[in-house]
């Protein structure tokens, strides 16, 4: 009995409880709206053309870019930073990839073949490289020049869209090269390919957490940069690379997004993605004050946001109020996650949470 109680108590305190609970509640709303496992049901997962399809698969696939950006953002926030340029970096990466690939239809030996301007691998590399440079720029401003992160990244947030439009001559560039579409809408072993990309990045991060001291260093610098430096950490280099990594994540997200819509739009690709990413990180339980962070939490946070967006459309909220509905739900979730609010409402935890 006491053991079971203890288990519940431990679970209640686990940092992922609230994010998971939120996700479950939103999923349940959908299940009630569209019950059953049949073709109309929310939980329906069918097989079509050799791959899985259904609402759940769709949500996961669409959440992929946000999950990637949120992973990068998590680390940036953990070192007391913030990167509001990720949306612009998405646009830059998409623009680079689309411009370099382009794609034309040629007839070769009587058969139509799509040809890219530059080999696709090279184009993808260039796009991610450009995104990495963007991250380095942010990192240099924050770590090297000690600029306020929000101001430092604001520069690229504004300028980045300009750069993207410069690359695309102000046009929306359409890509005619089917192999590129695989990234954002292809399937591998029945699952969307984009999910493998997310899984790969997450796996790399988790491995680094498990086998290197990266997590310790990031948290340490995030909690107390002064003491960290005196303990021998190179806080500046660490911060610089964290921003670079965040840029790379945004770059990959940009590839997936442009591949999904088969085009690059300098103006709208990844628009307001930075805010969704910050929200995802927060929903996942990582404090904006820096320090302790949760990668899984951010992934769940991204899923919450995407599921919420889906829900608003699927239960038929009129489009003109959907932002308000979204805001209300987010507000409620944040309220539930605030320990001060919980104490106020439930009048508990105030005694047990006290420090000696």
């Amino acid at each position: 009995m006491t053991k079971a109680f203890r288990l519940i108590e431990d679970a209640r305190r686990h940092p992922l409880v609230w994010p998971l609970l939120t996700l479950v509640v939103i999923v349940l709303v959908n299940v009630f709206a569209h019950p059953g496992f049949g073709p109309q049901g929310f939980l329906h997962v069918g097989v079509r053309e050799g791959h899985l399809f259904g609402a759940l698969v769709d949500i996961a696939n669409r959440a992929a870019p946000l999950m990637l950006v949120s992973l990068g953002m998590t680390l940036v926030i953990a070192v007391r930073g913030i990167d509001i340029s990720v949306g612009a970096v998405v646009a830059i990466s998409a623009a680079v990839a689309a411009t370099l690939i382009g794609g034309t239809l040629v007839i070769e030996n009587g058969a139509p073949v799509y040809v890219s301007k530059v080999p696709m691998a090279l184009a993808l590399l260039a796009a991610v490289g450009a995104a990495a440079l963007c991250g380095m720029w942010n990192g240099a401003l924050v770590a090297g020049l000690s600029m306020q992160p929000i101001i430092a990244t604001l520069i690229l947030m504004v300028a980045g869209r300009g750069v993207a439009q410069l690359l695309t001559d102000g046009q929306i560039i359409t890509v005619y090269y089917p192999p590129f579409f695989f990234l954002g809408s292809g399937f591998l072993f029945g699952l969307p390919f984009s999910l493998y990309v997310v899984a790969f990045v997450l796996a790399v991060l988790l491995c680094l957490t498990r086998f290197t001291a990266l997590q310790l260093f990031i948290q340490s610098v995030g909690i107390n940069p002064v003491a960290s430096r005196l303990a021998g950490l190179n806080a500046r280099a660490l911060t610089f690379w964290v921003y670079t990594f965040c840029g790379v994540c945004a770059g990959i997200a940009g590839l997936i997004i442009s591949s999904n819509v088969k085009s690059a739009d300098g103006n709208n690709a990844g628009l307001l993605l930075e805010l969704d990413a910050i929200l995802a990180v927060t929903l996942g339980g990582t404090s904006l004050a820096g320090g302790r962070y949760s990668l899984w939490g951010s992934v769940i946070g991204a899923l919450i946001i995407q599921t919420l967006t889906y829900t608003i459309y699927s239960i038929g909220v009129p489009p003109e109020v959907n932002l308000v509905v979204k805001a209300i739900v987010v507000f409620a979730v944040c309220l539930m996650q605030s320990s001060a609010f919980r104490v106020m409402v439930f009048r508990r935890g105030s005694l047990t949470g006290a420090e000696v």
Partner: protein, 513 residues
Amino acid sequence: MDSLQQPVLEMRGISRSFPGVRALHQASLRLHAGEIHSLMGQNGAGKSTLIKVLTGVHAPDAGEMRLHGECIRPDSPLAAQQLGIATVYQEVNLCPNLSVAENIFIGRFPARRGKIDWAALNREARDELGRMGLEIDVSAQLDTFPVAIQQMVAIARAVSMDSRVLILDEPTSSLDDDEVEQLFDTMRMLKGRGVAILFVTHFLDQVYAISDRITVMRNGECEGEYLPEALDRMALISKMIGRAYVPPGEACPDDENRTESSNAALLSVRGFGRRGLMQPMDLELRQGEVLGLGGLLGSGRTETARLLFGADKADSGEIEFSDGIHNSHRPFSSPREAIRAGLGYCPEDRKTDGIIAELSVRENIILALQARRGWLRGIPLRQQRAIADHYVDLLGIRTPDAEKSIGKLSGGNQQKAMLARWLATDPAMLILDEPTRGIDVAAKQEIMEQVLALCRKGLSILFISSDLDETVRVSHRVAVLRDRSKVGELAGNEVEEGAIMQIIAGSERMELR
């Protein structure tokens, strides 16, 4: 002091538990009007909790408090303040970005016709400070003044609220002797006005200099109430630690009579300094030696330590560092470099420069070692635990386990963990800046014993302490600083308080280097 007279404040049978800890058990305390009452006890004895109960931060689980004979139960610091119980904490908690006058009257600015009357505000602030013998520009921002002045401002704030009970929680730990004397004058003045003062400190000299009565706490219980003349120092310390006290004379450098160490030099600097921070100086530290840095607060002790460690960059001078493995000829340009060479630095301000509060004791202990190994080669968790447990045992860090956040430990245990952080890197040289500040007598002794044991094994130590007595006791040699330059050096039998004081005071008896 007539003990028949009714006390102003009486706490009786106060108990308070936190999950897993019984912080207070049946504690009691009596404060009389016009007395200075010292509350003594080791870290973790329950002094802070008792004060927090009194000031409404924590509610007691049991017991009663009476103010002027009436039962009180403050449920917040504000409520306690309104009852006339004012507190000045060890860390000054005022607003550094407001003016002195604003700080004194914050929340109750004098107003005229709905507007703040700035002239009256500044005038009253000046009067209030004037009564304490302090004449400063009250319109200047608080953080432009040294900590000692800020402390006085905090007291002025408490006093100006017409408090009947004033709690001073380790107000002297960042003050130098003159400032302490000034504070004592203020305390005596307040005592004359009939204020009951509860004084918490770790400095025994101060307790005997000013107390009318002493209450000793141990393990959350009140050991007893004593008159200072009836309780000598040995007896007091024994009551605090609950066992016979080994006089600190035992914790002396190894040699019978401080013969100068003939070991090779580990670190020597010439013309080493930084413009505007520290005048160029020469300094030498030999292997297995404790070199004390003597001097008043602000004489450049911490600055010297930071320059040597590379936390601030030296802009002149040469350095010769050699422990047989690492060699360095130029000043370290970052702490990282210094640590690679085998240095360690326990900074003066544990909270801001030392601990990573939300990380566990384990993570804090292995941090410097891991930093030296680089991020790529993570220390396996099992090994981390082994290292942490080893030092928790070795240094007697009192914590349920090494996974507890270090911020939740008491000051003394945090300091031991800082020491562990550096010992884990197996350093050749340690810089200890005020390693025993804010730490109780027993922990102090334990820490110093550990340090000296390491010295005997060949570790070199640069030792900084405001407690001259302590510096004299542990150092083989003492370099004396004044006004950010080195003004003298004492070795062997010359190392004694009087001689250091003389050099600080500017007597030319010693050769100046």
